[in-house]
């Protein structure tokens, strides 16, 4: 190595010098940073969400700070396999922001402050979602973030918002999201198990009205985290009401052949079947039931996917007639604001708002109500996360006192300490034959005008043959 000559050695030496200089810079930077760090952290933890151009942050006198813009962050999957949900949520959010800013004149208690939507793509994997949330918070400092529909993505976003003390409204429905003791998370939408519970409640309610007794049930679900929680909710509710659950069958949503499951169901011969499909598996199942000549008292879907959506009806045809499904949102709910927003959405995007859009409607409007109230309750610091949390926990929204509740299936929004809505519930749609065409209609909790739920299934052999 000596022979390599002086040149190499001098190069080594110079490189070593460079490294030493860099290390010195690091050390210096670290020292400088630590002296700098003290001041900003204390102020930012005091009001981490002060996004706006407040004239002076430390207002000795409790005067109302001038807030002109309130930033709301939206982290939704806009690309990849979940994009269909995220894109609809984004459209809905933009519509509601327009309504709040123009028609409702902004947040009145905050001097007509406008809402500004900042959107980030959550991608497909949790690391993308975390990056998106981190970017939103560090670059835009939003007061509230909404996201991210898919449970894994929502969990990743929640870990970031929780650390930064930012309120997160979750539109992911999986139960476990509100079971971590996270302080700053809220969820207006009914969680997965509430979907399963609602499907069962609907069937039991109908049976009671018709004087029928349900003794046995089979639960079928696709094995995603959402399907599993939904099924759990259904099974619990069935057991609670004294219905024997003969089988709880899970299958992958990529299933192509239902014959072994159908044989099992046939052997069980239950009074009712509760099924939680994804999409195409629902079509397959309905066709298999039709072909196998299974005629239970009722077949109810849960979980807002499959059976009653236009694509499933087109694909399955007569096979899905009288099937029902539960939805987090009811586009047919006959309240003034619901009708109006559905109409506006249809005019703007030429389609009926479904699950993702509906959740966004009432979530955004709940935020609107909360901000209004925050301006009254905490005029000096309305956008502080802890103040907002207290405001949210104090809200009790009903059809009479709010727009948000008018958009919600049960018409009642009140948060439990864990962030879930105490009055969460779903609407039930049923596929019915009207004027020779299969259409989804609202049948529960209150049927839409001129519609009656079909129960039990007309092809049921009756209790005698069961």
């Amino acid at each position: 190595m000596r022979l390599v000559s002086r040149k190499a050695i001098s190069k080594t030496a110079s490189a070593a010098i460079i490294v030493i200089i860099i290390i010195a810079i690091i050390a210096g930077g670290l020292a400088w940073w630590q002296t700098q760090q003290k001041a900003p952290t204390t102020t930012s933890s005091a009001s981490p969400t002060s996004t706006t151009k407040t004239s002076t942050t430390s207002s000795a006198t409790a005067t109302t700070p001038k807030i002109s813009v309130i930033k709301i962050g939206l982290v939704e999957p806009l690309t990849g396999k979940y994009a269909v949900f995220g894109l609809e949520a984004k459209e809905a959010a933009q519509l509601i922001v327009n309504i709040i800013n123009n028609e409702l004149g902004g947040i009145k208690s905050l001097g007509g402050a406008k809402i500004q939507l900042v959107v980030q793509d959550a991608g497909e994997t949790p690391d993308d979602a975390r990056l998106a949330a981190e970017k939103l918070i560090t670059q835009y400092h939003p007061t509230i973030i909404i996201g991210a529909y898919i449970s894994r993505l929502t969990a990743a976003v929640a870990q970031v918002t929780e650390q930064n003390h930012v309120i997160l409204f979750m539109d992911g429905l999986v139960d476990s999201l509100t079971q971590h003791g996270w302080k700053y998370v809220f969820r207006v939408a009914p969680k997965a198990s509430a979907h399963g519970k609602s499907a069962v409640d609907f069937v039991l309610d109908m049976a009671k009205k018709k004087g029928l007794k349900i003794k046995t049930a089979v639960v079928l679900h696709e094995d995603s985290i959402f399907g599993t929680y939904t099924a759990e909710g259904a099974v619990l509710e069935l057991r609670k009401n004294g219905v024997e659950v003969l089988d709880d069958i899970s299958y992958p949503d990529s299933i192509t052949d239902f014959s072994s499951i159908i044989n099992k169901v046939k052997a069980d011969n239950p009074d009712i079947i509760i099924t939680i499909p994804y999409f195409h598996d629902g079509v397959l199942f309905a066709k298999a039931v039709q072909a196998a000549n299974i005629h239970p008292m009722f077949i109810a879907g849960a979980g807002a996917c499959g059976y009653t959506d236009p694509d499933s009806i087109k694909a399955a045809g007569k096979a899905v007639l009288w099937y029902t499904n539960t939805y987090s949102y009811n586009p047919y709910r006959p309240t003034k604001w619901n009708q109006k927003i559905v109409k506006m959405f249809e005019e703007k995007y030429h389609k009926l708002p479904t699950e993702a859009a509906g959740i966004m409607f009432y979530t955004m409007m709940t935020i609107y109500e909360a901000l209004e109230k925050a301006g009254q309750m905490y005029p000096s610091n309305p956008l502080n996360a802890d103040n907002l949390r207290k405001v949210l926990l104090s809200l009790d929204l009903t059809d009479n006192n709010s727009i948000a509740a008018q958009l919600y299936p049960t018409g009642h929004i009140k948060f439990a300490p864990n962030g879930d809505n105490l009055y969460a519930g779903t609407a039930v749609l049923q596929v019915q034959m009207i004027n020779g065409k299969e259409v989804p209609v609202l049948v529960w909790p209150e049927p839409q005008p001129g519609v009656h739920p079909v129960f039990p299934r007309p092809d049921w052999h009756g209790s005698g043959s069961g």
Binding site: I22, W33, T79
Partner: protein, 326 residues
């Protein structure tokens, strides 16, 4: 045997020094540090992949299998037995290596190579995805790491600490690469890559050396797996994700087979560009970033099919250095 030329080590030292000041240069902006950490962990994956894919020339598409197994084993040990990841990561690495041995031994014994090896490894990710999806294993649920922070858990409120941990792993991975590259094993592996039959005819124990490369690669990925889960926040059967697995191999190929510098550059560059495009235009024109990303890959494929490493060699030649294996 050895770490190779002094210049390699100097270049490494400079790169590490630059990477070390990145958090300061970024003013501790958490978003950028998280982005840097994500890019750097992918650089570790790609440089580890370089051992099996670059030196040994085996198109392995299963990095997520080893990352997932190592990471999940470490995470479960922490969650249920309270074992610190500092110990757990070694056990995780061991689990990944055991899996690699179980897959690699029969594979190489029965001479499965080229596209068949690629197919087999790609299916490994899918198989693990399905196995862990069973209710008896992980089920459908998302699993969370303990809600605690500190060096014992390797979970932090801020990202700079984990960034430096990843940086440490990065250095270790590059050193292992250099060690292999400049050893007998490295020359044997390259001989196997160029012509397996000829290598065997020369008396190289092809099976043994391929397995050695596979085990080293799986061990590094298994060790790093836990940090990847920390960045993800949760783990589930979906940790065994085929697209991510493929993207690691793609980064390795774009970087240039057998080149550490190429692997590093392509991982840092592609991951950052991907995130930058998603962050800037992803929300306004969804999907456009994927298109641009794809076009970038095609451009590299057309103009520099040997990868970014070839670009470096070209620059070096112009400047007057000769390539000495870095």
């Amino acid at each position: 045997m050895g770490l190779g030329t002094r210049r390699n080590l100097i270049v490494l030292a400079i790169i590490v020094a630059v990477l070390a000041i990145i958090p300061f240069a970024l003013g501790f902006n958490q978003y950028y540090i998280l982005l840097a950490a994500t890019s750097l962990i992918f650089a570790v994956f790609v440089i580890a992949w370089n051992i099996i894919g670059g030196y040994a020339g085996q198109l392995d598409l299963a990095p997520m299998a080893y990352i997932g197994v190592g990471g999940i084993v470490t995470a479960e040990l922490l969650k249920y037995y309270g074992i610190t990841p500092w110990v757990g990561m070694f056990i995780g690495a061991g689990a990944s290596m055991a899996l690699a041995a179980a897959v690699g031994y029969p594979t190489f014994r029965f001479g499965i190579k080229e596209v068949w090896y690629a197919l087999l490894t790609a299916s490994l990710v899918v198989i693990l995805n399905n196995i862990t999806h069973l209710p008896q294993v992980l089920g459908s649920f998302d699993h969370y790491l303990p809600a605690k922070t500190g060096w014992y858990y390797l979970i932090f409120y801020r990202y700079q600490n984990i960034y430096y941990v990843i940086l440490g792993l990065f250095v270790a991975t590059v050193l292992i690469n250099l060690l292999i590259s400049n050893s007998k094993t490295g020359y044997y592996l390259r001989a196997i890559r160029e012509d397996e039959l000829a290598a065997e005819a020369l008396g190289i124990d092809v099976r043994k050396y391929k397995l050695k490369a596979l085990l080293t690669y799986a061990g590094i990925l298994g060790f790093t797996g836990y940090l990847y889960i920390v960045l993800q926040g949760t783990y589930s059967y979906q940790t065994f994700n085929s697209p991510t697995s493929l993207s690691i191999a793609i980064m390795g190929i774009v970087g240039g087979l057998g080149s550490i510098a190429g692997a590093f550059t392509s991982a840092m560059f592609l991951k950052t560009v991907e995130e930058y495009l998603r962050g800037t235009i992803g929300a306004t024109i969804p999907g456009l970033y994927l298109l641009i990303y794809g076009i970038l890959l095609i451009i590299v494929g057309i103009f520099k099919p040997e990868g970014i490493a070839a670009l470096f060699n070209w620059v070096k030649k112009k400047v007057g250095f000769e390539n000495r294996g870095m």
